[in-house]
Amino acid sequence: MWQQLYSELKDNNFMVVAVAEESRGADHARPWIDQAKSDYWQLIDTEHRLEDLYNLVNVPQAVWIDEQGTIVRPPETAGSTDHFRRMDLKTRTMSPKDQEERLAARTAYMDAVRAWVTTGKYALAANAARATLPKVTPEMAEARARFRLGVWLRANGRVAEGDKQMAEASRLYPDSWSMWRQAADLDEVGKASSLEFWNRVQALGDKPYYPPPRL
């Protein structure tokens, strides 16, 4: 997904690190990685450690980090939009206008990354970056620990026990789509996009599924 961007910018002291939040492991992610034909880092995060460290809640999200290792844009939606919520579920298609808007939003995000790498534009000053950080609550911290335990139990054949921990994690941290969808996918591949998922998305009402980045 990011290969074109990386090819264009790699001579500018720039790196892309793509992290697969994939509790089924590397072999499950491999077909997508092979298809991407990428030469940036493609990492596998079976325990969603990155999401714990950076308080991420969905995919794709991105964090921009400068040459000194400082976060200059906290986690935000990386090029996806909510247009999919209006798609026709039978045909799985979006209207031409929605498709166009979706592409425009993605292009604008990619252009922002380009501008940052070449000119420094869109990097936030410390106070502005801090102001957009998502705050971790004790409930979220507990959810992360339960999710971690759930992944381990499932990986060790203790499915029912693992599911119970994951369900409790989603109850404690309902805004984490990653935890909910990963648990659904571990239950059965495809379940992360099931009718239950769609119902959950529609229950958001006016709230965004992919909050747009404030560029």
């Binding site: 990011w2 961007l5 002291n13 720039f14 790196m15 892309v16 690190v17 992290v19 939040e21 994939e22 089924r24 590397a26 499950h28 992610a29 880092w41 990492l43 596998i44 450690r49 990155l50 999401e51 714990d52 460290l53 950076y54 794709p60 999200q61 991105a62 964090v63 921009w64 980090i65 040459e67 290792g69 400082t70 976060i71 906290p74 990386a78 790498v117 410390a126 950080l133 705050k135 971790v136 004790p138 979220m140 911290a141 507990e142 992360r144 620990a145 339960r146 971690r148 335990l149 381990w152 139990l153 026990e161 119970k164 990653s178 969808r181 990963q182 659904a184 996918d185 591949v189 992360a192």
Partner: protein, 129 residues
Amino acid sequence: MTKILTPTAEHDVAARDGLWMSPADAETVTGWMLKPEGMCRAEACVPLPASAVGTNEVDLAAFWTRLGGPVIVSDKRDVWALGAPADERNAALEGLAAPDFTLPDVNGVPRSLSQLRGKKVFLATWASW
């Protein structure tokens, strides 16, 4: 043996009655060392109640709770997860220093964010699901 999952590692430890274990094991699992003033790491010490310290053993669950971190146990009480305290995560993020991590690439080669110091990094997640 009792299995303990921390945010970045897995440990097998001889523990009894929950997470009572030797101070040496407690340090291996958490990085905090038992001293007369409590559990200490670098300059920081967290005082422990007398009920959480015994003869050459310490109640790691009591310490972790005191630290503000979640302590979760499996139904069979053989696998524990110690989560990062919310305050610790918030303080780390508010400092804006990107938390370092090491994860394997698709061929199992470990890669650390800190290897990329000196470059701008676009760190993005994705998933098959």
